[in-house]
Amino acid sequence: MDRFETHSCDVLVVGAGGAGLRAAIEVAAQGASVGLICKSLLGKAHTVMAEGGVAAALANTDGRDSWKVHFRDTMRGGKMLNDWRMAELLAREAPARVIELEGWGALFDRTPDGRILQRNFGGHQFPRLAHVGDRTGLEMIRTLQDKAVHSPGIDVYMECTVVRLLKDGPRISGALAYRRDTGRFIVFSTKAVVLATGGIGRAYKINSNSWEYTGDGHALAYDAGADLIGMEFVQFHPTGMVWPLSVRGILVTEGVRGEGGVLKNSQGERFMFRYVPEMFRKDFADTEEEADRWVAEVIAGRKAEARRPPELLTRDVVARAIAQEVREGRGSPHGGAFLDIASRRKPEEIRKKLPSMYQQFYELADVDITRQPMEVGPTTHYMMGGVRVDAETEAATIPGLFAAGEVAGGLHGANRLGGNSLSDLLVFGRRAGLGAAAYAKAHPGDPRIDASEVEAIIAEALAPFDRSGGENPYAVHDALQDMMGTYVGIARSEDDLCTALGQLASLRARAARAGVEGHRQYNPGWHVALDLRHLLTVSEAVTRAALERRESRGAHTRVDHPESERSFATVNVVVRRRGDAMTVVTEPMSPMPDELKRIVEGEV
């Protein structure tokens, strides 16, 4: 029997969430053939969980909005560490990408005059998020899925996982994957690969991510020799469910606060007023009266003249505030804060605008959010860092490799604004598709696949079957998640990070002894054993990058370096493989042009 089946295509897209689907659609539109791989069934990718909306300066709900304000909000939210060109492209192109989705059948909620309605969100100065209740991601993925299904030239490989990228000299030549249902291997021979694999949330115990989020794309790119940047920036979303245990970490949309929800501690205090950073002080209400006036104006559909409630500060700020309230003894019974929408909006409004939240709490936590507050706390949610790409084409630092969406680094800087990931998927998914299709056209002829390399990787992948009775892969994964939460979590220190590096070495040794039972057909234990390799790589990258950035900025908090430092204000921490060693260096970012600087400073 053949050891593997072989397929060839012009462009291989790894991942079929929003970014992968959008990239595949664009490659097909350019007339190139696409292989589209997803670890789950089509339409189940994590984009489906996106709730609040897609940020685009359509200026439908508030005419004062523009791409410039969106750009400024994005840069300030990212603490100026964003790739400014990516942030500019995002702000300029997002409106057209959202309207394009409508032309493909998406149905966003409407304004009274029949245009796309936009909602408020943390860090966005104006109501900017096009949305469908609190299930925007489902609407987007279904629209893109249907568009892709009817685009000629896209072959979908469902329940298929990539093990390693293959190279012909310096350039990408393909990928080795396995089919989850049969356990059989596939070699894809391809001119270009677009990584659209999402994030790394499963490296942490308390997270809002699905099992798929094991950092595959980050690790595949790293193994292939590509640069990763910003790996120290892991977003802890401030509002995950904290109780019961079964649902710990599941996301509670920022839309709850966008719709007027407030955060309180165990003493009933709206503590966020005490946590407004200097940079944002003039944009946020300093009294409850003013904050409430803002909500009243927004609900009435008027342009808000009052300043925004501090609950709508950026995620890094709110997450740290909740963690501090808990640490200082003012937490909720299960170690979080209270998020209250019940006393702010009518029950029927809550059920209309937040139907999934209502159902999620009612069925899983016995809480009726139209009558009771929710208990919420920080949960690992999003990876700002990722594959270093060219802003225009999403080309990585090795020829033939492209990345878009969460797996790509740079756009969000030190902290992502809610709603910007969905526009990211559309804007840069499309650009990656264009970039990869153009690259494939410019490089005709099939690159060479090294059969002996393929055989060696297959042998390594099958090794856990020869170690029946070895380490339980689930137990190793569990230990890794505990370790990352304890030592590389929301508050970090040099001591903790060094401890983490030591523990990563022993976890790597345990993972190398992992053994699995049964056969190759649909064997989750084996899948976990293979995922461990990627999880360990990204965990080490996060830890080493966090050690290198000796300051606090955005989502990265060092308790031993609590301030932002000038010396780190304009540098990227770059992680790359040299031989078998993971190297970390800081490299200066390219300076922002003056016209963009003026926008950030307030000129619109």
Partner: protein, 249 residues
């Protein structure tokens, strides 16, 4: 306190129910119990899941005979001390354990005539009233868990996969047919390939929908009416006959 799960282990050829003990904790759902079994007793137990919050529709199974999302089914719904049976969906071929081959559904979807919008306003966008899209947004809540396909007797008991699209895809067609921007008619598809006439509106699909979509009342019955209007209404029939006469030389 332990619960006992009787989980189907096997494939399309053979299989049996095996018992596994699982410690209970507050708020636990069936999917937690399955994960516990995987981590501690049977690492090769196959099951699909993703979001664990009722949003992706991956973890469909038959729990004590009822089609459910395992992530939204609480363990405390079941009587204490009695084993809970977990089996794969019956309407689709088993691959292994709780995982079925649902690829047929994706093939059906491909055959539905796709969305085609009317031209936009001069500014390049479209205007739609919320009241006009409310009913379509109900259909677009579908998470493709295929529980409705599983209980539909046309598929489950009569195996009419070659001539019947099933409730999921009637919901999908309804979302296109009632879309304010769409200009395509899919009544011919519904009548021929979709086989909507085979549905005798027993509403089993509506009962199991985790998104509470009123599949029968709001999707299937209005679509049946459209098919009747287009193909069996005598006036329209005459009109079609006349226009066809005129078209042919």
């Amino acid at each position: 306190m332990d619960a006992v799960l009787k989980i189907f282990r096997g494939d399309a050829q053979r299989g049996e129910f095996r018992e596994y003990g699982v410690p209970l904790h507050e708020g636990m759902v069936v999917l937690d119990a399955i994960h516990h079994v995987q981590a501690h007793a049977a690492s090769d137990l196959a099951c699909r899941w993703n979001c664990k919050a009722g949003r992706c529709g991956s973890c469909s199974a038959e729990v004590d005979g009822k089609p459910k999302l395992m992530c939204m089914t609480r363990m405390d719904e079941f009587p204490v001390g009695e084993p809970i049976t977990v089996a794969p969906l019956k309407a689709f071929p088993v691959i292994k354990d709780l995982v079925c081959d649902v690829s047929w559904n994706y093939e059906v979807n491909k055959r539905i005539p796709p969305f085609q919008p009317k031209p936009p306003e001069p500014d390049g966008t479209w205007r739609m009233q919320q009241a006009d899209i409310d009913r379509v947004q109900e259909f677009r809540k579908c998470i493709e868990c295929f529980l409705c396909q599983d209980v539909c007797h046309v598929l489950r008991d009569h195996g009419k996969k070659d001539s019947f699209a099933g409730p999921r895809f009637f919901v999908r067609v309804a979302s296109l047919e009632m879309h304010p921007l769409d200009v395509v008619s899919r009544t011919a598809y519904l009548k021929e390939q979709g086989g909507i006439g085979l549905c005798n509106i027993t509403k089993c699909c509506t009962e199991v929908c985790p998104e509470s979509i009123r599949i029968t009342d709001n999707a299937i019955i209005p679509l049946k009416e459209r098919v009747v209007d287009d193909f069996y209404d005598p006036v329209r029939r005459a009109w079609r006959w006349l226009t066809r006469q005129r078209d042919s030389p």
